[in-house]
Amino acid sequence: MPQRGDHSPPLAPEGLVRRVWRSVFPHPVLPRSERERRRTILEFFVLHLRPVRVLRSTLRYTHTFGLGGSSLTLVALMVGTGALLMLAYEPTPDRAYLSVVALERDTLFGGLVRNIHHWCANILVVVVLAHLLRVLFTGGFHGPRQFNWVIGCGLLGLVLAANFTGYLLPWDQLAYWAVTICTGMLGYVPWIGGWLQAVARGGPEIGASTLVLFYAFHTTLLPVLLGLVMGLHFWRVRKAGGVVDPRPSGEPPESEPQHVSTLPELLLRELAAALALVAVVCVLAALVDAPLGAAANPGMSPNPSKAPWYFVGFQELQLHFHPLFAVVVIPVAAVLALLAVPYLRYEPEMSGPWFLSARGRRSAALAAAAGAAATAVLVVVDGLLLQSRAGTPGLIGRGLLPAAGFLVAVTGFRRLLAARLGAVKAEIVQATFVLCFAVWAMLTVVGVFFRGPGMALAWPWG
Protein backbone atom coordinates (compact mmCIF):
# COMPACT_ATOMS: atom_id res chain seq x y z
CA MET A 1 0.00 0.00 0.00
CA PRO A 2 1.32 3.44 -0.87
CA GLN A 3 1.46 5.64 2.17
CA ARG A 4 2.72 8.99 0.95
CA GLY A 5 0.58 11.36 -1.13
CA ASP A 6 -2.57 10.53 -3.02
CA HIS A 7 -1.32 10.04 -6.51
CA SER A 8 1.91 8.16 -6.04
CA PRO A 9 1.96 5.13 -8.34
CA PRO A 10 1.31 1.78 -6.70
CA LEU A 11 4.43 -0.02 -5.69
CA ALA A 12 3.16 -3.42 -6.67
CA PRO A 13 1.07 -4.13 -9.78
CA GLU A 14 -2.67 -4.20 -8.95
CA GLY A 15 -5.55 -6.05 -10.55
CA LEU A 16 -7.89 -4.28 -13.01
CA VAL A 17 -10.85 -4.12 -10.66
CA ARG A 18 -8.75 -2.59 -7.94
CA ARG A 19 -7.23 -0.03 -10.32
CA VAL A 20 -10.63 1.03 -11.62
CA TRP A 21 -11.94 1.24 -8.06
CA ARG A 22 -9.05 3.43 -7.05
CA SER A 23 -9.57 5.70 -10.06
CA VAL A 24 -13.16 6.27 -8.95
CA PHE A 25 -12.44 6.53 -5.23
CA PRO A 26 -8.91 7.87 -4.72
CA HIS A 27 -9.77 8.34 -1.07
CA PRO A 28 -10.60 5.72 1.54
CA VAL A 29 -14.28 4.75 1.35
CA LEU A 30 -14.45 3.25 4.81
CA PRO A 31 -11.85 5.37 6.59
CA ARG A 32 -10.45 3.99 9.80
CA SER A 33 -8.06 6.59 11.15
CA GLU A 34 -8.71 10.27 11.85
CA ARG A 35 -6.38 11.15 8.98
CA GLU A 36 -8.24 8.97 6.53
CA ARG A 37 -11.58 10.43 7.58
CA ARG A 38 -10.28 13.90 6.91
CA ARG A 39 -9.20 12.92 3.44
CA THR A 40 -12.47 11.22 2.65
CA ILE A 41 -14.42 14.34 3.56
CA LEU A 42 -12.15 16.69 1.71
CA GLU A 43 -11.94 14.64 -1.46
CA PHE A 44 -15.35 13.09 -1.85
CA PHE A 45 -17.26 15.72 -3.82
CA VAL A 46 -20.54 15.47 -1.96
CA LEU A 47 -18.90 15.28 1.44
CA HIS A 48 -16.52 18.18 0.84
CA LEU A 49 -19.51 20.49 1.11
CA ARG A 50 -19.67 19.52 4.76
CA PRO A 51 -17.35 20.67 7.54
CA VAL A 52 -14.45 18.34 8.31
CA ARG A 53 -14.81 18.66 12.05
CA VAL A 54 -17.62 20.09 14.12
CA LEU A 55 -18.05 21.19 17.72
CA ARG A 56 -19.21 18.32 19.87
CA SER A 57 -21.75 20.61 21.54
CA THR A 58 -23.59 21.16 18.24
CA LEU A 59 -24.33 17.47 17.82
CA ARG A 60 -27.19 17.39 20.31
CA TYR A 61 -30.36 16.54 18.39
CA THR A 62 -32.48 19.15 20.14
CA HIS A 63 -30.14 21.93 19.01
CA THR A 64 -31.16 21.78 15.33
CA PHE A 65 -33.67 18.88 15.35
CA GLY A 66 -31.89 17.91 12.13
CA LEU A 67 -34.30 20.13 10.21
CA GLY A 68 -31.83 21.22 7.51
CA GLY A 69 -30.82 17.62 6.86
CA SER A 70 -34.49 16.63 6.81
CA SER A 71 -35.18 19.25 4.14
CA LEU A 72 -32.40 17.79 2.04
CA THR A 73 -33.76 14.27 2.53
CA LEU A 74 -37.21 15.35 1.40
CA VAL A 75 -35.87 17.15 -1.66
CA ALA A 76 -33.93 14.02 -2.59
CA LEU A 77 -37.08 11.92 -2.25
CA MET A 78 -38.96 14.42 -4.40
CA VAL A 79 -36.39 14.23 -7.16
CA GLY A 80 -36.48 10.43 -7.09
CA THR A 81 -40.27 10.12 -7.09
CA GLY A 82 -40.61 13.07 -9.48
CA ALA A 83 -38.40 11.37 -12.05
CA LEU A 84 -40.61 8.27 -11.84
CA LEU A 85 -43.77 10.36 -12.20
CA MET A 86 -42.34 11.99 -15.32
CA LEU A 87 -42.34 8.57 -16.99
CA ALA A 88 -46.11 8.33 -16.68
CA TYR A 89 -47.21 11.94 -16.82
CA GLU A 90 -48.31 13.67 -20.06
CA PRO A 91 -48.23 17.48 -19.85
CA THR A 92 -51.16 18.47 -22.06
CA PRO A 93 -54.59 19.64 -20.87
CA ASP A 94 -56.47 16.75 -22.43
CA ARG A 95 -54.03 14.09 -21.23
CA ALA A 96 -52.67 15.34 -17.89
CA TYR A 97 -55.59 14.35 -15.69
CA LEU A 98 -56.13 11.05 -17.48
CA SER A 99 -52.45 10.17 -17.22
CA VAL A 100 -52.53 10.72 -13.44
CA VAL A 101 -55.70 8.62 -13.15
CA ALA A 102 -54.11 5.91 -15.29
CA LEU A 103 -50.94 6.06 -13.21
CA GLU A 104 -52.89 5.44 -10.02
CA ARG A 105 -55.02 2.70 -11.58
CA ASP A 106 -52.68 0.79 -13.86
CA THR A 107 -49.12 1.21 -12.68
CA LEU A 108 -47.93 -1.04 -9.88
CA PHE A 109 -46.96 1.31 -7.01
CA GLY A 110 -48.06 4.27 -9.18
CA GLY A 111 -50.36 5.54 -6.47
CA LEU A 112 -47.72 5.02 -3.80
CA VAL A 113 -45.08 7.01 -5.68
CA ARG A 114 -47.54 9.82 -6.31
CA ASN A 115 -48.51 9.78 -2.63
CA ILE A 116 -44.87 9.99 -1.55
CA HIS A 117 -44.31 12.93 -3.90
CA HIS A 118 -47.44 14.63 -2.59
CA TRP A 119 -46.72 14.14 1.11
CA CYS A 120 -43.05 15.03 0.77
CA ALA A 121 -44.06 18.27 -0.91
CA ASN A 122 -46.31 19.27 1.95
CA ILE A 123 -44.02 18.09 4.73
CA LEU A 124 -41.15 19.91 3.03
CA VAL A 125 -42.89 23.27 3.44
CA VAL A 126 -43.46 22.57 7.13
CA VAL A 127 -39.92 21.34 7.71
CA VAL A 128 -38.27 24.24 5.87
CA LEU A 129 -40.34 26.72 7.86
CA ALA A 130 -39.40 24.90 11.08
CA HIS A 131 -35.74 25.06 10.01
CA LEU A 132 -36.09 28.79 9.43
CA LEU A 133 -37.56 29.19 12.91
CA ARG A 134 -34.78 27.06 14.40
CA VAL A 135 -32.16 29.29 12.84
CA LEU A 136 -34.00 32.37 14.07
CA PHE A 137 -34.48 31.10 17.62
CA THR A 138 -30.87 30.01 18.03
CA GLY A 139 -29.56 33.24 16.47
CA GLY A 140 -27.78 31.30 13.72
CA PHE A 141 -27.69 34.23 11.30
CA HIS A 142 -25.01 36.51 12.75
CA GLY A 143 -21.45 37.08 11.56
CA PRO A 144 -20.27 34.64 8.90
CA ARG A 145 -23.79 33.20 8.65
CA GLN A 146 -25.48 36.46 7.59
CA PHE A 147 -25.55 35.77 3.88
CA ASN A 148 -26.53 32.14 4.41
CA TRP A 149 -29.82 33.39 5.79
CA VAL A 150 -30.39 35.18 2.49
CA ILE A 151 -29.48 32.02 0.57
CA GLY A 152 -31.92 30.15 2.79
CA CYS A 153 -34.65 32.63 1.90
CA GLY A 154 -33.90 31.86 -1.75
CA LEU A 155 -34.33 28.15 -0.98
CA LEU A 156 -37.65 28.86 0.69
CA GLY A 157 -38.79 30.71 -2.44
CA LEU A 158 -37.67 27.83 -4.66
CA VAL A 159 -39.47 25.26 -2.50
CA LEU A 160 -42.68 27.28 -2.62
CA ALA A 161 -42.32 27.75 -6.38
CA ALA A 162 -41.77 24.02 -6.86
CA ASN A 163 -44.85 23.29 -4.81
CA PHE A 164 -46.96 25.79 -6.67
CA THR A 165 -45.91 24.65 -10.14
CA GLY A 166 -46.40 21.01 -9.13
CA TYR A 167 -49.85 21.74 -7.80
CA LEU A 168 -51.17 22.55 -11.29
CA LEU A 169 -49.88 19.38 -12.93
CA PRO A 170 -52.68 16.91 -12.06
CA TRP A 171 -55.07 19.32 -13.87
CA ASP A 172 -57.99 18.60 -11.59
CA GLN A 173 -60.51 21.13 -10.28
CA LEU A 174 -58.38 21.85 -7.20
CA ALA A 175 -55.31 22.55 -9.31
CA TYR A 176 -57.02 24.56 -12.01
CA TRP A 177 -58.83 26.98 -9.74
CA ALA A 178 -56.05 27.34 -7.20
CA VAL A 179 -53.75 28.41 -10.02
CA THR A 180 -56.44 30.66 -11.51
CA ILE A 181 -56.77 32.48 -8.20
CA CYS A 182 -53.05 32.74 -7.50
CA THR A 183 -52.17 34.03 -10.98
CA GLY A 184 -55.24 36.27 -10.79
CA MET A 185 -53.58 38.03 -7.84
CA LEU A 186 -50.67 39.01 -10.06
CA GLY A 187 -53.07 41.12 -12.09
CA TYR A 188 -53.19 43.63 -9.23
CA VAL A 189 -49.52 44.54 -9.41
CA PRO A 190 -49.55 48.19 -10.54
CA TRP A 191 -48.66 48.95 -14.17
CA ILE A 192 -47.23 45.57 -15.16
CA GLY A 193 -49.91 43.38 -13.54
CA GLY A 194 -51.64 42.38 -16.76
CA TRP A 195 -48.38 41.51 -18.45
CA LEU A 196 -47.10 39.62 -15.40
CA GLN A 197 -50.26 37.58 -15.24
CA ALA A 198 -50.05 36.73 -18.94
CA VAL A 199 -46.40 35.70 -18.48
CA ALA A 200 -47.26 33.46 -15.53
CA ARG A 201 -50.08 31.87 -17.52
CA GLY A 202 -48.09 31.67 -20.73
CA GLY A 203 -50.99 33.37 -22.48
CA PRO A 204 -54.20 35.26 -21.80
CA GLU A 205 -55.80 32.36 -19.95
CA ILE A 206 -54.87 29.13 -18.25
CA GLY A 207 -54.45 26.46 -20.87
CA ALA A 208 -51.94 24.32 -22.72
CA SER A 209 -49.17 26.92 -22.61
CA THR A 210 -49.60 27.39 -18.85
CA LEU A 211 -49.20 23.67 -18.36
CA VAL A 212 -46.06 23.52 -20.51
CA LEU A 213 -44.58 26.47 -18.65
CA PHE A 214 -45.30 25.03 -15.22
CA TYR A 215 -44.10 21.58 -16.27
CA ALA A 216 -40.78 22.97 -17.55
CA PHE A 217 -40.26 24.92 -14.35
CA HIS A 218 -41.33 22.10 -12.11
CA THR A 219 -39.33 19.29 -13.61
CA THR A 220 -36.22 21.08 -14.85
CA LEU A 221 -35.53 24.68 -13.98
CA LEU A 222 -36.54 24.67 -10.32
CA PRO A 223 -34.92 21.33 -9.36
CA VAL A 224 -31.64 22.37 -11.01
CA LEU A 225 -31.68 25.75 -9.25
CA LEU A 226 -32.62 24.09 -5.98
CA GLY A 227 -29.66 21.72 -6.27
CA LEU A 228 -27.19 24.50 -7.02
CA VAL A 229 -28.41 26.81 -4.28
CA MET A 230 -28.48 23.97 -1.74
CA GLY A 231 -24.85 23.23 -2.57
CA LEU A 232 -24.00 26.87 -1.90
CA HIS A 233 -25.99 26.79 1.34
CA PHE A 234 -24.12 23.73 2.66
CA TRP A 235 -20.77 25.17 1.59
CA ARG A 236 -21.51 28.30 3.56
CA VAL A 237 -22.40 26.26 6.65
CA ARG A 238 -19.03 24.56 6.29
CA LYS A 239 -17.20 27.88 5.89
CA ALA A 240 -18.83 29.14 9.08
CA GLY A 241 -17.39 26.11 10.89
CA GLY A 242 -20.62 24.15 11.20
CA VAL A 243 -23.77 25.33 12.89
CA VAL A 244 -23.89 27.93 15.60
CA ASP A 245 -22.59 26.89 19.02
CA PRO A 246 -25.53 26.17 21.37
CA ARG A 247 -23.78 27.78 24.33
CA PRO A 248 -24.82 31.37 25.10
CA SER A 249 -22.67 33.84 23.17
CA GLY A 250 -21.69 35.78 26.32
CA GLU A 251 -19.89 32.83 27.89
CA PRO A 252 -16.11 32.76 27.72
CA PRO A 253 -14.84 30.33 25.09
CA GLU A 254 -13.94 26.87 26.27
CA SER A 255 -10.27 26.63 26.98
CA GLU A 256 -10.15 23.76 24.57
CA PRO A 257 -13.24 23.54 22.33
CA GLN A 258 -14.03 19.92 21.76
CA HIS A 259 -14.13 19.06 18.10
CA VAL A 260 -15.17 15.76 16.65
CA SER A 261 -14.85 14.42 13.15
CA THR A 262 -17.94 14.96 10.96
CA LEU A 263 -17.46 11.43 9.71
CA PRO A 264 -18.86 9.44 11.47
CA GLU A 265 -20.18 11.55 14.36
CA LEU A 266 -22.40 14.00 12.44
CA LEU A 267 -23.01 12.00 9.27
CA LEU A 268 -24.22 8.89 11.07
CA ARG A 269 -26.63 10.94 13.15
CA GLU A 270 -27.92 12.65 10.04
CA LEU A 271 -28.29 9.32 8.28
CA ALA A 272 -30.33 7.95 11.19
CA ALA A 273 -32.60 11.01 11.16
CA ALA A 274 -33.00 10.78 7.37
CA LEU A 275 -33.93 7.09 7.52
CA ALA A 276 -36.50 7.77 10.22
CA LEU A 277 -38.01 10.52 8.11
CA VAL A 278 -38.14 8.33 5.00
CA ALA A 279 -39.91 5.67 7.06
CA VAL A 280 -42.50 8.17 8.32
CA VAL A 281 -43.15 9.48 4.80
CA CYS A 282 -43.53 5.97 3.38
CA VAL A 283 -46.00 4.94 6.07
CA LEU A 284 -48.00 8.12 5.58
CA ALA A 285 -48.01 7.62 1.80
CA ALA A 286 -49.16 4.03 2.18
CA LEU A 287 -52.04 5.02 4.46
CA VAL A 288 -53.29 8.35 3.09
CA ASP A 289 -53.90 8.96 -0.62
CA ALA A 290 -52.99 12.24 -2.31
CA PRO A 291 -56.21 14.02 -3.24
CA LEU A 292 -57.35 14.10 -6.86
CA GLY A 293 -60.51 16.06 -7.62
CA ALA A 294 -62.69 15.91 -10.70
CA ALA A 295 -61.05 16.80 -14.03
CA ALA A 296 -60.50 20.54 -14.50
CA ASN A 297 -63.61 22.31 -15.80
CA PRO A 298 -63.02 25.95 -16.79
CA GLY A 299 -66.79 26.54 -16.79
CA MET A 300 -67.42 25.66 -13.15
CA SER A 301 -65.54 27.06 -10.16
CA PRO A 302 -66.03 24.84 -7.14
CA ASN A 303 -67.38 26.61 -4.10
CA PRO A 304 -65.27 27.43 -2.15
CA SER A 305 -62.12 27.59 -4.30
CA LYS A 306 -59.01 27.78 -2.18
CA ALA A 307 -55.31 28.17 -2.88
CA PRO A 308 -52.97 25.39 -1.67
CA TRP A 309 -52.65 25.71 2.12
CA TYR A 310 -49.27 27.48 2.12
CA PHE A 311 -50.84 30.31 0.08
CA VAL A 312 -54.12 30.40 1.96
CA GLY A 313 -52.81 33.06 4.38
CA PHE A 314 -52.07 35.17 1.33
CA GLN A 315 -55.54 34.51 -0.05
CA GLU A 316 -57.06 35.40 3.32
CA LEU A 317 -55.36 38.80 3.08
CA GLN A 318 -57.35 39.45 -0.11
CA LEU A 319 -60.56 39.35 1.88
CA HIS A 320 -59.45 42.06 4.28
CA PHE A 321 -57.23 44.45 2.33
CA HIS A 322 -57.37 46.51 -0.81
CA PRO A 323 -55.75 44.42 -3.58
CA LEU A 324 -52.82 46.81 -3.87
CA PHE A 325 -51.97 46.14 -0.23
CA ALA A 326 -52.87 42.46 -0.20
CA VAL A 327 -50.91 41.63 -3.35
CA VAL A 328 -48.05 44.12 -3.43
CA VAL A 329 -47.42 46.22 -0.33
CA ILE A 330 -47.78 43.62 2.42
CA PRO A 331 -45.98 40.71 0.65
CA VAL A 332 -43.11 42.93 -0.51
CA ALA A 333 -42.74 44.39 3.00
CA ALA A 334 -42.78 40.87 4.47
CA VAL A 335 -40.07 39.60 2.10
CA LEU A 336 -37.88 42.66 2.72
CA ALA A 337 -38.28 42.26 6.48
CA LEU A 338 -37.34 38.58 6.23
CA LEU A 339 -34.21 39.40 4.22
CA ALA A 340 -33.26 42.20 6.62
CA VAL A 341 -33.19 40.01 9.74
CA PRO A 342 -29.42 39.32 9.73
CA TYR A 343 -28.50 42.88 8.79
CA LEU A 344 -30.19 44.76 11.63
CA ARG A 345 -27.93 46.21 14.32
CA TYR A 346 -27.87 44.00 17.38
CA GLU A 347 -26.07 44.96 20.50
CA PRO A 348 -25.19 42.52 21.79
CA GLU A 349 -25.53 39.80 19.14
CA MET A 350 -27.15 36.86 20.89
CA SER A 351 -27.02 33.25 19.80
CA GLY A 352 -26.83 29.73 21.11
CA PRO A 353 -29.66 28.46 23.29
CA TRP A 354 -33.19 28.21 21.90
CA PHE A 355 -35.04 31.54 22.18
CA LEU A 356 -31.69 33.15 23.15
CA SER A 357 -32.57 33.48 26.86
CA ALA A 358 -35.34 32.95 29.40
CA ARG A 359 -36.51 36.49 28.67
CA GLY A 360 -36.42 35.77 24.94
CA ARG A 361 -38.57 32.70 25.49
CA ARG A 362 -41.14 34.65 27.45
CA SER A 363 -41.36 37.52 24.97
CA ALA A 364 -41.64 35.05 22.07
CA ALA A 365 -44.49 33.19 23.78
CA LEU A 366 -46.22 36.47 24.49
CA ALA A 367 -45.81 37.56 20.88
CA ALA A 368 -47.22 34.29 19.54
CA ALA A 369 -50.27 34.50 21.78
CA ALA A 370 -50.86 38.19 21.04
CA GLY A 371 -50.47 37.80 17.26
CA ALA A 372 -52.74 34.78 16.98
CA ALA A 373 -55.45 36.13 19.29
CA ALA A 374 -55.53 39.61 17.75
CA THR A 375 -55.70 38.16 14.24
CA ALA A 376 -58.55 35.83 15.11
CA VAL A 377 -60.55 38.66 16.67
CA LEU A 378 -59.88 41.06 13.80
CA VAL A 379 -60.86 38.49 11.17
CA VAL A 380 -64.17 37.85 12.88
CA VAL A 381 -64.89 41.55 13.43
CA ASP A 382 -64.03 42.35 9.81
CA GLY A 383 -66.13 39.43 8.59
CA LEU A 384 -69.16 40.69 10.50
CA LEU A 385 -68.66 44.31 9.41
CA LEU A 386 -68.10 43.31 5.81
CA GLN A 387 -71.31 41.35 5.58
CA SER A 388 -73.38 44.45 6.28
CA ARG A 389 -71.30 46.72 4.05
CA ALA A 390 -71.32 46.92 0.27
CA GLY A 391 -69.21 48.73 -2.28
CA THR A 392 -65.65 48.30 -3.43
CA PRO A 393 -62.90 48.45 -0.80
CA GLY A 394 -61.13 51.79 -0.51
CA LEU A 395 -57.39 52.24 -0.62
CA ILE A 396 -57.40 54.22 2.63
CA GLY A 397 -59.97 52.37 4.68
CA ARG A 398 -58.74 48.94 3.62
CA GLY A 399 -55.08 49.72 3.06
CA LEU A 400 -53.34 52.65 4.66
CA LEU A 401 -55.33 52.79 7.89
CA PRO A 402 -55.12 49.11 8.87
CA ALA A 403 -51.46 48.93 7.82
CA ALA A 404 -50.63 51.99 9.90
CA GLY A 405 -52.62 50.52 12.78
CA PHE A 406 -50.59 47.34 12.54
CA LEU A 407 -47.29 49.25 12.62
CA VAL A 408 -48.43 51.27 15.64
CA ALA A 409 -49.53 48.11 17.46
CA VAL A 410 -46.20 46.37 16.75
CA THR A 411 -44.23 49.39 17.89
CA GLY A 412 -46.28 49.54 21.06
CA PHE A 413 -45.69 45.85 21.64
CA ARG A 414 -41.94 46.29 21.22
CA ARG A 415 -41.93 49.18 23.69
CA LEU A 416 -43.86 47.06 26.13
CA LEU A 417 -41.35 44.21 25.88
CA ALA A 418 -38.47 46.58 26.48
CA ALA A 419 -40.16 48.37 29.38
CA ARG A 420 -41.83 45.47 31.15
CA LEU A 421 -39.50 42.57 30.47
CA GLY A 422 -36.33 44.55 29.87
CA ALA A 423 -35.86 42.74 26.56
CA VAL A 424 -32.85 43.73 24.40
CA LYS A 425 -32.79 44.22 20.63
CA ALA A 426 -32.14 40.60 19.65
CA GLU A 427 -35.03 39.40 21.80
CA ILE A 428 -37.31 42.14 20.53
CA VAL A 429 -36.55 41.31 16.89
CA GLN A 430 -37.21 37.67 17.64
CA ALA A 431 -40.53 38.51 19.29
CA THR A 432 -41.54 40.78 16.39
CA PHE A 433 -40.80 37.98 13.95
CA VAL A 434 -42.83 35.55 16.04
CA LEU A 435 -45.70 38.03 16.12
CA CYS A 436 -45.78 38.32 12.33
CA PHE A 437 -45.40 34.56 11.95
CA ALA A 438 -48.32 34.01 14.33
CA VAL A 439 -50.46 36.44 12.32
CA TRP A 440 -49.66 34.53 9.14
CA ALA A 441 -50.25 31.15 10.80
CA MET A 442 -53.62 32.32 12.15
CA LEU A 443 -54.68 33.64 8.74
CA THR A 444 -53.77 30.25 7.30
CA VAL A 445 -55.77 28.38 9.95
CA VAL A 446 -58.79 30.61 9.39
CA GLY A 447 -58.56 30.21 5.60
CA VAL A 448 -58.10 26.45 5.68
CA PHE A 449 -60.58 25.49 8.40
CA PHE A 450 -63.00 28.35 8.93
CA ARG A 451 -63.99 29.42 5.43
CA GLY A 452 -67.01 27.78 3.85
CA PRO A 453 -68.99 28.37 0.65
CA GLY A 454 -68.53 31.87 -0.78
CA MET A 455 -65.56 32.23 1.59
CA ALA A 456 -67.95 33.13 4.41
CA LEU A 457 -66.78 32.37 7.95
CA ALA A 458 -68.00 28.92 8.92
CA TRP A 459 -67.26 26.17 11.43
CA PRO A 460 -65.18 23.33 10.03
CA TRP A 461 -67.84 20.83 11.13
CA GLY A 462 -70.91 22.84 10.14
Binding site: G203, P302, N303, Q318
Partner: protein
Protein backbone atom coordinates in the same frame (compact mmCIF):
# COMPACT_ATOMS: atom_id res chain seq x y z
CA UNK B 1 8.08 55.91 -21.26
CA UNK B 2 5.42 57.25 -23.61
CA UNK B 3 5.33 53.90 -25.33
CA UNK B 4 4.46 52.13 -22.12
CA UNK B 5 1.73 54.67 -21.37
CA UNK B 6 0.35 54.12 -24.85
CA UNK B 7 0.62 50.41 -24.27
CA UNK B 8 -1.27 50.58 -21.00
CA UNK B 9 -3.98 52.85 -22.35
CA UNK B 10 -4.39 50.55 -25.31
CA UNK B 11 -4.75 47.68 -22.89
CA UNK B 12 -7.30 49.43 -20.77
CA UNK B 13 -9.16 50.37 -23.93
CA UNK B 14 -9.21 46.74 -25.06
CA UNK B 15 -10.24 45.66 -21.59
CA UNK B 16 -13.10 48.09 -21.64
CA UNK B 17 -14.09 46.93 -25.09
CA UNK B 18 -14.33 43.38 -23.82
CA UNK B 19 -16.47 44.56 -20.94
CA UNK B 20 -18.82 46.40 -23.29
CA UNK B 21 -19.01 43.42 -25.64
CA UNK B 22 -19.71 41.14 -22.70
CA UNK B 23 -22.48 43.47 -21.60
CA UNK B 24 -23.97 43.44 -25.09
CA UNK B 25 -23.85 39.65 -25.20
CA UNK B 26 -25.52 39.48 -21.80
CA UNK B 27 -28.24 41.87 -22.90
CA UNK B 28 -28.87 39.75 -25.98
CA UNK B 29 -29.13 36.61 -23.88
CA UNK B 30 -31.58 38.31 -21.52
CA UNK B 31 -33.59 39.50 -24.49
CA UNK B 32 -33.82 35.97 -25.86
CA UNK B 33 -34.96 34.63 -22.50
CA UNK B 34 -37.57 37.37 -22.12
CA UNK B 35 -38.82 36.66 -25.64
CA UNK B 36 -39.44 33.05 -24.65
CA UNK B 37 -41.36 34.12 -21.58
CA UNK B 38 -43.62 36.46 -23.53
CA UNK B 39 -47.15 35.15 -23.38
CA UNK B 40 -47.88 33.03 -26.43
CA UNK B 41 -50.37 34.87 -28.57
CA UNK B 42 -51.90 31.92 -30.32
CA UNK B 43 -52.49 29.76 -27.28
CA UNK B 44 -56.22 30.31 -26.98
CA UNK B 45 -58.65 30.68 -29.83
CA UNK B 46 -59.90 33.71 -27.90
CA UNK B 47 -57.35 36.11 -29.29
CA UNK B 48 -58.43 36.02 -32.85
CA UNK B 49 -61.68 37.93 -33.20
CA UNK B 50 -64.40 35.44 -33.88
CA UNK B 51 -68.04 36.16 -34.47
CA UNK B 52 -70.30 34.05 -32.31
CA UNK B 53 -73.83 33.75 -33.65
CA UNK B 54 -76.08 33.69 -30.59
CA UNK B 55 -79.43 33.44 -32.35
CA UNK B 56 -82.44 35.50 -33.45
CA UNK B 57 -83.44 38.45 -31.29
CA UNK B 58 -86.82 36.90 -30.48
CA UNK B 59 -85.22 33.92 -28.76
CA UNK B 60 -84.19 36.10 -25.80
CA UNK B 61 -86.94 37.32 -23.51
CA UNK B 62 -86.40 40.83 -22.12
CA UNK B 63 -85.08 40.68 -18.56
CA UNK B 64 -83.25 37.33 -18.95
CA UNK B 65 -79.67 36.09 -18.88
CA UNK B 66 -78.66 33.23 -21.20
CA UNK B 67 -75.37 31.37 -20.68
CA UNK B 68 -73.23 30.36 -23.67
CA UNK B 69 -70.72 27.91 -22.17
CA UNK B 70 -68.95 27.22 -25.47
CA UNK B 71 -68.52 30.97 -26.05
CA UNK B 72 -67.68 31.55 -22.37
CA UNK B 73 -70.06 34.47 -22.01
CA UNK B 74 -73.55 35.37 -20.88
CA UNK B 75 -76.00 37.20 -23.11
CA UNK B 76 -78.15 39.59 -21.10
CA UNK B 77 -81.35 41.03 -22.55
CA UNK B 78 -82.33 44.04 -20.48
CA UNK B 79 -85.93 44.79 -19.67
CA UNK B 80 -85.91 47.53 -22.34
CA UNK B 81 -84.80 45.05 -25.00
CA UNK B 82 -81.09 46.01 -25.15
CA UNK B 83 -78.34 43.36 -25.35
CA UNK B 84 -75.10 43.03 -23.38
CA UNK B 85 -72.59 40.16 -23.71
CA UNK B 86 -70.78 39.64 -20.38
CA UNK B 87 -67.51 37.79 -19.88
CA UNK B 88 -68.07 35.02 -17.35
CA UNK B 89 -64.76 35.64 -15.55
CA UNK B 90 -65.03 37.34 -12.17
CA UNK B 91 -63.12 40.64 -12.18
CA UNK B 92 -61.69 39.86 -8.75
CA UNK B 93 -59.44 36.86 -9.42
CA UNK B 94 -60.90 35.14 -12.42
CA UNK B 95 -63.28 32.47 -11.16
CA UNK B 96 -66.21 31.61 -13.40
CA UNK B 97 -69.35 33.33 -12.10
CA UNK B 98 -72.64 31.44 -12.34
CA UNK B 99 -75.95 33.25 -12.90
CA UNK B 100 -78.19 32.61 -9.91
CA UNK B 101 -81.62 33.04 -11.46
CA UNK B 102 -83.43 32.79 -8.13
CA UNK B 103 -81.58 35.83 -6.77
CA UNK B 104 -81.39 37.61 -10.10
CA UNK B 105 -77.66 38.17 -9.87
CA UNK B 106 -74.26 36.64 -10.58
CA UNK B 107 -72.59 35.31 -7.42
CA UNK B 108 -68.92 34.34 -7.51
CA UNK B 109 -68.22 31.08 -5.67
CA UNK B 110 -64.65 32.09 -4.84
CA UNK B 111 -64.92 35.22 -2.70
CA UNK B 112 -68.61 36.01 -2.91
CA UNK B 113 -68.52 39.03 -5.23
CA UNK B 114 -71.92 39.62 -6.77
CA UNK B 115 -73.01 41.42 -9.96
CA UNK B 116 -76.36 42.44 -11.37
CA UNK B 117 -77.53 41.38 -14.83
CA UNK B 118 -75.70 44.31 -16.44
CA UNK B 119 -72.48 43.21 -14.75
CA UNK B 120 -72.51 46.04 -12.21
CA UNK B 121 -70.83 45.17 -8.88
CA UNK B 122 -73.34 44.56 -6.10
CA UNK B 123 -70.91 43.24 -3.51
CA UNK B 124 -67.11 43.27 -2.98
CA UNK B 125 -64.32 42.29 -3.37
CA UNK B 126 -64.66 42.64 -7.16
CA UNK B 127 -63.13 45.99 -8.11
CA UNK B 128 -64.99 46.63 -11.38
CA UNK B 129 -68.01 45.45 -13.39
CA UNK B 130 -67.82 42.27 -15.44
CA UNK B 131 -65.95 42.73 -18.73
CA UNK B 132 -68.04 42.61 -21.87
CA UNK B 133 -67.88 41.83 -25.59
CA UNK B 134 -69.30 43.95 -28.41
CA UNK B 135 -72.69 42.80 -29.65
CA UNK B 136 -73.94 43.30 -33.19
CA UNK B 137 -77.42 42.77 -34.45
CA UNK B 138 -77.64 42.04 -38.18
CA UNK B 139 -80.95 41.03 -39.82
CA UNK B 140 -82.36 40.55 -36.33
CA UNK B 141 -79.67 37.96 -35.54
CA UNK B 142 -77.61 38.61 -32.39
CA UNK B 143 -73.88 38.22 -32.95
CA UNK B 144 -71.15 38.57 -30.31
CA UNK B 145 -67.62 39.60 -31.26
CA UNK B 146 -65.37 37.39 -29.15
CA UNK B 147 -61.84 38.71 -28.77
CA UNK B 148 -60.15 40.24 -25.80
CA UNK B 149 -62.93 41.16 -23.38
CA UNK B 150 -63.42 44.92 -22.91
CA UNK B 151 -62.71 46.27 -19.42
CA UNK B 152 -64.91 49.03 -18.08
CA UNK B 153 -64.97 51.18 -14.98
CA UNK B 154 -68.65 51.82 -15.01
CA UNK B 155 -71.68 50.33 -16.64
CA UNK B 156 -72.96 52.78 -19.25
CA UNK B 157 -75.80 52.80 -21.67
CA UNK B 158 -73.35 53.13 -24.58
CA UNK B 159 -72.28 49.53 -23.95
CA UNK B 160 -75.79 48.25 -24.68
CA UNK B 161 -76.79 47.24 -28.22
CA UNK B 162 -80.39 47.67 -29.26
CA UNK B 163 -82.14 46.08 -32.19
Amino acid sequence: MSESIQESSRRSFLGRLWLVLGGVALAEAVWIVVAFFQPRRRSGARDAETIYVAGPVERFEPGTVTPFPDGRFYLTRLADGGFLALNRECTHLGCTVPWVAAEGRFVCPCHASSFDMRGEVLGPPAPRPLDHFPVRIENRIVKVVLGSPIRRRVVADSQVTRA
